[in-house]
């Protein structure tokens, strides 16, 4: 009996000790200020800044480091740039520990999650050059009415054409497709036993451009209403499905390539639809392929394309928001953005930088022209899930039913809006 009692005692003692440690652990996290504290005064202190980036490679890391170091020298505030291996995970860890990076890359898909739990400072309206950003980009980084963060740059989709295959098929510059019908015609002409006419990724991030051309999108512009199963979207998917079944359009994965650039580079396709990131990959990996960039063809509702962007997020928990804002201001000036564009290729997010950029990058102008009519991805919490689910169904579009696919997406989005 006595033995049993002492055992229970020790179990109790362990549990008590555990609880103590747990509470101790709890106080180890910094107590969180009230969510939405971003509206008022900015915090300011002598603390240095940490900048967390998800880099595409050495060129990007180096140019961001140089730019931040230059700012650091002139402002006298320490700033350290860290290139994350898995940015989403490192960001999450930072927010939960209460000591996040002060400034960081933030994707449109990740914005709603962090904005809704109060991790992000909504500083957009404090920017001096806020009216200079493309409106579509501003709406991509606006969540529930607040403009959260400055778009650091952007990318948009355009059509890339292999000029050798183009000439072989007897096509000239006048044949560059400007409508869906023309796209179908040239794609058919370009399809041979060796390669297909057009190959794209099996995802909303590419097929969404067709939806935009048909006049649809997954949600309305303010991301308050689901419009996924609109007749416009059905029309777009039906068109893509038809081309898939005619053999004039292939998914890149079915060709054994990882993405459109690889398919174009390996000569598996004559045309592809990718963003401006393709230029770097083509120069480095496939320097022998000659290609031109054209704007995407018009659909029933006119021109349309998709744009993708990251912004410079600032953490609510940053002890030195004032300095962070100044840094972001510096990094988004036209000069900084043109320098970044030179180093690793993104398009400047400021309208005032457009002319300089166009002059310097003549053949790539179609990408920047896309900014006028581009659509972004919806910004509600759970967007990422919706897109993953939609993409998993778009992979089966060839045999699937466009209406059914879009109905599922509609249901999923409506569930999030409740």
């Amino acid at each position: 009996m006595q033995r049993r009692t002492s055992r229970w005692l020790s179990v109790g003692a362990l549990a008590a000790a555990g609880t103590l440690v747990l509470t101790g652990c709890g106080s180890g996290f910094s107590e969180t200020p009230e969510p939405g504290a971003g509206g008022g005064e900015l915090t300011s202190s002598d603390d240095g800044l940490t900048v967390l980036i998800g880099s595409s490679g050495d060129a990007e890391t180096k140019s961001v480091k140089d730019a931040v170091a230059a700012w650091s020298d002139s402002s006298g505030i320490d700033a350290e740039v860290k290139a994350a291996a898995d940015k989403d995970q490192e960001l999450s860890q930072g927010f939960s520990s209460g000591k996040p990076a002060d400034v960081f890359y933030l994707s449109t898909e990740a914005l709603p999650g962090y904005a809704s739990n109060g991790s992000l400072l909504a500083y957009g309206d404090m920017l001096e050059n806020k009216d200079d950003f493309y409106p579509a980009l501003v709406s991509s980084f606006t969540y529930e009415g607040d403009f959260y963060c400055a778009p650091k740059d952007f990318s948009s989709l355009a059509l890339q054409i292999n000029t050798d295959m183009w000439a072989e098929a007897g096509l000239t510059d006048d044949d560059i497709p400007t409508t869906w019908q023309e796209l179908e015609t040239v794609s058919k002409a370009l399809t041979t036993p060796e390669h297909v006419g057009l190959a794209i990724g099996a995802e909303y991030q590419r097929i969404g451009a067709f939806m935009a051309q048909a006049g649809g999108n997954l949600m309305n512009e303010e991301s308050t209403e689901a419009t996924a199963n609109s007749p416009e979207n059905v029309e777009a998917l039906t068109f893509v499905k038809k081309m898939l079944n005619d053999g004039t359009l292939s998914y890149v994965k079915d060709l054994g390539a990882g993405w459109g650039g690889e398919a174009l580079g390996k000569g598996l396709t004559a045309m592809t639809i990718e963003g401006n990131w393709i230029t770097g990959a083509m120069t480095n990996d496939f320097p022998d392929i000659k290609y031109i960039v054209a704007e995407l063809p018009e659909g029933p509702a006119g021109k349309g394309t998709m744009q993708f962007s990251n912004c410079w997020g600032i953490a609510t928990d940053s002890p030195n928001q004032q300095a962070a804002l100044e840094l972001v201001q510096e990094l988004t000036t036209a000069e900084s953005q043109l320098a970044f564009s030179e180093a690793f290729g993104p398009l400047p997010s400021l309208q005032s930088a457009a002319e300089d950029w166009k002059a310097a990058h003549e053949p790539l102008v179609p990408f920047l022209n896309g900014a006028e009519y581009a659509q972004g991805v919806p910004t509600i919490q759970g967007t990422l899930d919706i897109m993953t689910d939609l993409n998993s169904q778009l992979e089966g579009l060839k045999t699937g039913d466009p209406q059914e696919i879009l109905d599922t997406a509609q249901e999923n989005i409506e569930a999030l809006l409740k």
């Binding site: 652990c25 180890g28 969180t32 989403d88 990422l384 998993s392 992979e395 089966g396």
Partner: protein, 378 residues
């Protein structure tokens, strides 16, 4: 522990005599490990348990005052919610269940087969083969995954080899077709209209996708070596005498394996099956480094879904809930396995073979011939 087994009278003698203070030293010596386990295992598990029943959003401490208890909401969303969360969870369970169904038996059988081969005295170069078979086990999963992505590419080595024998290989890691659907795209209405956990019965019965099958092959390839070592160790521990006795009784090699060797391996078999089962339900690295759930979510596993839900979608409660449901599943199947493989007394039907037949009506024992032909008693 052995001191209590030595049989000293317990309660009275514990705090007296030469053994005084032993308990304290015991605790002292085990303390470092207990503290480490507590700090890095027990506390995180308890925290995760709390997160799974809270509305923590991933910002600041999960114990701060603005995080509240929401009961089983996270679990409900996964198990009965009817939304995307439930469908994803159902899909991941389906994928992983098929993965387990194929990997566990196949890797166990293969590793046992390799172990028996390598345990034979006549085999030359056993050391070489042992190393060769064990090699994939010590290579990092990520490295092997990358290798696999290349091998099973649409125009990769595997498909090249298949083409030599006239087979057009599938585009492995991009093929979402269930292998048990045999190319059919729709099934009978009663299968496609009924769902469990948001996934149609047709999909549940479809088997692993072609992409998942590639992962299944990979798992068998990499883990068989480890389990082969366990089996070799067990085989070398078996006494020769029992096998020899069986030989003297005229048992063939086949019979000796099934009736003599295998029953003696039961404890090892349990270990291998349990470790295999746990490992299989926790597939993560391959998916993370390889397909990330694609194509069409057919390589989504609960472990990867938990990560994705928490880190990418900021649904920390749901992510933790997935982890705990996964834990429950693993415990359940381990217990089932333990029960199936438990040492039991000889069954009545078997025992009858060895029992003396009941005395016949005239009181004499039955003729001895009956004993040598047990078949007749069945």
């Amino acid at each position: 522990m052995s001191t209590t087994a030595s049989g000293s009278p317990r309660a009275g003698s514990r705090r007296s005599g030469i053994r005084r203070g032993e308990a304290a030293s015991g605790w002292l010596f085990t303390a470092p490990m207990l503290i480490l386990l507590g700090l890095f295992l027990v506390i995180p598990v308890l925290m995760a348990l709390w997160v799974s029943v809270s509305d923590w959003t991933g910002r600041g401490s999960p114990f701060s005052s603005n995080v509240s208890f929401i009961g089983a909401d996270n679990y409900e969303a996964l198990l009965t919610g009817g939304g995307l969360a439930q469908r994803d969870f159902g899909t991941s369970l389906k994928n992983n269940a098929w993965y387990v169904v194929f990997v566990v038996p196949l890797q166990t059988a293969l590793s046992l087969f390799l172990a028996v081969l390598l345990n034979r005295q006549i085999l030359k170069g056993r050391g070489f083969f042992r190393t060769a078979f064990y090699f994939p086990s010590i290579t990092s999963t990520v490295a092997i995954t990358v290798l696999w992505l290349f091998l099973f590419n649409a125009s990769g080595v595997v498909n090249k080899v298949l083409s030599f024998v006239g087979i057009t290989g599938p585009n492995w890691f991009n093929d979402a077709r269930g292998i048990l659907h045999f190319g059919a795209t729709t099934g009978p209405a009663f299968l496609t209209e009924n769902t469990t956990l948001g996934v149609t019965w047709w999909d549940w019965l479809g088997g692993p996708s072609v992409a998942m099958s590639a992962y299944i092959l990979m798992a068998i390839f990499t883990t068989s070596g480890t389990f082969m070592l366990l089996f070799i160790a067990a085989l070398q521990n078996l006494g020769e005498d029992v096998t020899e006795a069986a030989m003297m009784d005229g048992a063939t090699g086949w019979q000796r394996f099934w009736q003599v060797t295998l029953p003696q391996l039961r404890p090892t078999l349990f270990t291998v099956l349990t470790l295999g089962l746990i490992g299989c339900w926790q597939v993560f690295e391959q998916i993370y480094a390889g397909t990330k759930g694609a194509p069409s979510k057919t390589t989504l596993t609960p472990a990867y879904l938990a990560y994705q839900t928490a880190f990418n979608n900021q649904q920390w409660g749901q992510g933790a809930a997935i982890a705990f449901i996964l834990f429950a599943i693993i415990v359940f199947f381990t217990l089932v396995q333990r029960w199936v493989l438990a040492d039991r007394g000889v069954s009545k039907r078997r025992a009858r073979l060895y029992a003396l037949p009941p005395a016949s009506s005239d009181g004499k024992p039955a003729p001895a011939a009956v004993l040598t032909k047990p078949g007749r008693n069945r």
